[in-house]
Amino acid sequence: MKKVFIITAVIVGIFLALQVRSFQKVEFLLQRSGPESVFEELRVFQIANQQLRTQLEESEKNFEDIQSKITSQAVEAELLRLQLIAGEHEVSGQGIEIIFNISVPAYRIADLITQLVTAGAEAIAINDIRLTPQTAGLRDVGGGLLMRRHFLRAPFRISVIGPKQELKLSISQSGGFLDRLQNSYSGLRITLSEREKIVISKLPE
């Protein structure tokens, strides 16, 4: 009789463990899958094509501009464009600020960056370290984050320059990115605010 008990208990234990593991796996994939439904994903594709059309129009206009402008003006425009991206100068513009009071895993921040870029972010900084090819790469380290060579501690302040309303909407919809994040970590407080002017410092020397 004792054996029956043990066998039954072991089988129930295995069922429970399998069930919990299966829920955890699905939950993890669902949390990271981003858009809520297939139609939402298709909308992303539609937006991508719209952006390609805009890019096409801009490239055609740029080409005409280069041909019509005198060389110095065209070169200056190109220099300014690259300087704005490179991170060697302080930049500003309208945008949003997101603050996490406690540390969240690096992959969550990477997923958030993807959402913001899709919504039109032009510059992003975490705790005032601007995201560029020289600082890209996030890793969890001892209760904080390593952004390539920069160690960042909570609270994390993510400053984003871009269309503030679209940026805010892209992450704050019901069931959206911030909702899923909030539900995953007890004790996490998220502050999201629109700003007329966000300033992002140049990269440290």
Binding site: V12, F15, L16, Q19, K25, V26, L29, L30, S33, G34, P35, V38, L42, F45, Q46, A48, N49, Q51, L52, R53, Q55, L56, E58, S59, N62, F63, I66, T71, S72, A74, V75, E78, L79, R81, L82, L84, I85, A86, G87, H89, E90, V91, S92, G93, Y107, A110, D111, T114, T118, E122, A123, L131, P133, A136, G137, L138, R139, R148, I161, P163
Partner: protein
């Protein structure tokens, strides 16, 4: 007394199994695998129309980008040597130059046991957008100098997102297999691949003598960003 105890024990086990079963039954069905046929047909038709539109846009864009690059090259050659140096340095910093150095090439494919026709975002046998995002993140951490996925240059501002059964890199749709070319220290870069070792996908790494990663497409116009001293 003993029989009563056994009865209680089996009732308890029964209740637990009942709870597990009811949880399973109440679980939300996963949309990707349970769409009605009609809905799936609409999705497929929409996807095909977007794909066709994208192909046509890609061709036009490629043609104008080539013209634009040539015009820029001529324009830069006419400027002073100092300006040319600055432009070249800034392009290197921002990823708008081609890089050809030592590095590695990583090929990610779905597990042979599955087919993309049956794609599910919840199936670990498929290469997911998050796999590519995680890999790119770790490659940057290993000081990758330049990264491309299926010939598209990846910058920190390149989004990688799932769309139905394919993946959008930037605004371009790409499909499996995913070939990631990376310029940098081959030993350090190979360490990065370990981030995917728990996945059930196929990973192949090779180290050709030279890896060439093309320049990023011309940068999109910046509407909100300005130098703060202006």
């Amino acid at each position: 007394m003993k029989t009563r105890f056994f009865n209680l024990f089996f009732i308890f086990i029964g209740i637990i199994i009942g709870i597990i079963l009811s949880l399973q039954i109440r679980a939300q069905p996963v949309g990707t695998g349970s769409s009605p046929e009609k809905q799936l047909a609409i999705q497929k038709s929409l996807l095909n129309s977007f794909l066709t539109e994208q192909e046509s846009l890609k061709k036009k864009l490629l043609s104008i980008e080539e013209k634009l690059s040539s015009a820029k090259e001529i324009m830069e050659k006419r400027s002073s040597r100092e300006t040319q140096k600055t432009l070249s340095r800034l392009k290197r910093l921002t990823g708008f130059d081609a890089v050809s150095e030592e590095g590695i090439r990583i090929t990610l494919s779905d597990n042979p046991s599955v087919s993309r026709v049956d794609f599910s975002a919840l199936n670990e046998n498929f290469v997911q957008a998050s796999d590519l995002r995680d890999l790119v993140n770790v490659l940057f951490l290993q000081d990758a100098k330049a990264i491309s996925i299926n010939e598209k240059r990846i910058l920190p501002f390149t989004s990688i997102q799932p769309v139905f059964d394919s993946i959008l890199v930037g605004n371009f749709q790409i499909g499996s297999p995913f070939v990631i070319s990376v310029v940098g220290n081959p030993d350090a870069l190979q360490e990065a691949v370990k981030v995917l070792h728990k996945r059930k996908i196929q990973i192949f790494v090779d180290t050709p003598q030279t890896i060439t990663v093309a320049s990023a497409d011309n940068p999109r116009s910046l509407k909100f960003l300005s130098l703060d001293n202006q």
